[in-house]
Amino acid sequence: MTTTTATGSPLLATAPGRAGLRQGILSEWTKLRSVRSTWIALLVIVVAGIGLSALISNVEAGRWGTLGAADRAQFDPVRFSQAGEFISQFVVGVLGALIVTSEYANGAIRTTLATLPRRTTVLAAKAVVIGAVIFVVSEVTAFASFFVGQAVLTAHGGKTLPEGSTILTQVKSSFIPVATFSSTGAARAVFFCGIYLTLLALVAFGFGLILRHTAGAISLFVGVLLVIPLIVQILPSSISDSIEKFLPSNLGLAMIVVTTRKTDFAGVLLSPWAAAMTLALYTVVIVAVGGWLLARRDA
């Protein structure tokens, strides 16, 4: 070994500083990009986002002529373009859980924690990397889907409603309404679609930290998104009405719909910002519990 000193004292040990967040982030990024499943999952997010945007926008455009006033009032060209979110939420959940549970599955978590003994650093590095990757891919997908969706509606003869339009203008419109980026709530809804997926990935990451098991974490994640809403629906409406708006899936809906045109959602959903803040709070609590357990438990 050419780099070894005669005493065996390590040459590299004298460097200033210490192994910290920067090193952790670089390492986690290398780990994430070096397995094929990451790229497949990210591709699914992009394809599902853009593909479902085109598909749903096409279907809705075809229905416009047959819609009554109530349905026309709910016609949401932004929401249609973000339909892929329904599939992507499960993909980001799997990615978020796997960044931690895959290491528990094969024992690599012990190597990770030995390379960076400060466990909060490991937690932060993993959260930053999975959060940043999901954020970038989800936002790019959300914006691309938006433009694809509006292009499909335009191809069916859709046009932007004139400035100062109300719900009534939309209901009475002779053509399919198309959103632009400056339409009320459009930019926010598209941006929040990416935020929603990023927060969900971190929720799944937190579940992974808590359960340390891939199947368990993903089951819990799917349960929270799909099963709990079903259970809440069975409850008497006096109870379910007050709970429903706080369910993660409905928080996501509140973040993505353009509520100014969604009169019948008023009162059922939180405002977009309140919904985003609530989901962010859930995320912080779940990741904090996971981090607390990571720091306390034996690896």
């Binding site: 070994m1 005493t7 390590p10 780990k31 024992g107």
Partner: protein
């Protein structure tokens, strides 16, 4: 140097490690010997700060693992060879480890060369044999060129050539002044690799000594004697103070005497001998005798060490 003082660790009601103290010195290969389930891996994990001891401390050169600024550059460890994502290439696996401690990229190629995996560096680790995985694990331990190295059962799955390679590697690393702590459940392997020994059974210290002392102080010389007149010979030898037992095939196993004295006594009594041979207890037997009480899981067909 590794120093453990009063280390204790329980999992539920099971005491994995109980008041364990030992020292591992630099420049030597120290074997960490014990039956499976005796607490070796738990101890290794506590050294690396992965498991929190219930009591006691373990330090590396006077510092706890948690306080090392660049842990990989000071301590290298091979815990489980297969603890790698199967879809990642060997090179990117090592690179991801190197990045955590700001180790330069060329060091990855150096250690790949060193362990003989340079040709398969781009191959997915899932396709590796257990022997190749062990080499990759050794490469990751050497990555930071550390002064302290821990190896948990490094020869598992290696072919004879690989075993010899590991043995020589450990000796040469120790020769460079590094601290080498290597666990095994095979006494014979330790005798050929290590000069110092820490022996544990059921989580407690059985011996902390050199390999040579361990063998000589725990080996009882016995002599195997065959005679057509074994019954009379047994009486003669017993009267001379030796302890005699009869083997399954009728041979006598004599302790507390020597071949010379047995031969003389037989001659004096006019007893013919067909065999008179000194027996050296094998290292494995010494180890099994010592740890027999400390083995948790006996096989059903006698006192065999599991696996």
């Amino acid at each position: 140097m590794i120093e453990a003082v009063g280390l204790s660790k329980s999992y539920g009601k099971t005491k994995a490690v109980d008041d364990l103290s030992f020292e591992v010195r630099a420049g030597l290969v120290t074997g960490f010997l014990g039956p499976n389930g005796s607490g070796k891996s738990t101890t290794m994990r506590m050294i690396l700060g992965l498991d929190h001891p219930d009591a006691g401390t373990v330090t590396l050169g006077g510092r706890r693992y948690h306080d090392l600024h660049w842990p990989l550059r000071e301590v290298g460890a091979l815990l489980e060879a297969k603890a790698v994502h199967p879809g990642r290439s060997a090179r990117l696996h090592l690179w991801s480890l190197a990045q955590t401690n700001a180790i330069p990229k060329n060091r990855v190629d150096e250690v790949l060369d060193l362990v003989g995996l340079a040709a398969v560096a781009e191959r997915r680790v899932g396709k590796f044999s257990l022997g190749m995985s062990q080499r990759l694990g050794i490469a990751s331990a050497l990555l930071g060129d550390p002064g302290v190295l821990l190896f948990d059962e490094p020869i598992n799955g290696l072919d004879p050539e690989g075993i010899l390679w590991v043995r020589n590697l450990l000796k040469s690393l120790a020769g460079e002044g590094r601290t080498i702590f290597v666990s095994s459940h095979l006494m014979s392997e330790m005798a050929q690799t290590a000069t110092e020994l820490v022996v544990i059974g059921r989580g407690t210290l059985i011996a902390d000594t050199t390999v040579d002392d361990f063998i000589s102080s725990n080996t009882v010389a016995t002599t195997l004697v065959r005679s057509p007149d074994a019954g009379r010979l047994a009486g003669v030898l017993t009267s001379l103070g030796a302890t005699v037992s009869v083997a399954d095939d009728g041979a006598l196993v004599v302790t507390g005497s020597t071949t010379e004295r047995i031969g003389e006594a037989a001659h004096a009594a006019g007893i013919r001998l067909h065999e008179l041979s000194p027996q050296q207890a094998s290292l494995e037997e010494v180890f099994m005798d010592l740890t027999a009480d400390a083995v948790d899981f006996h096989g059903t067909s006698g006192a065999t060490v599991p696996r």
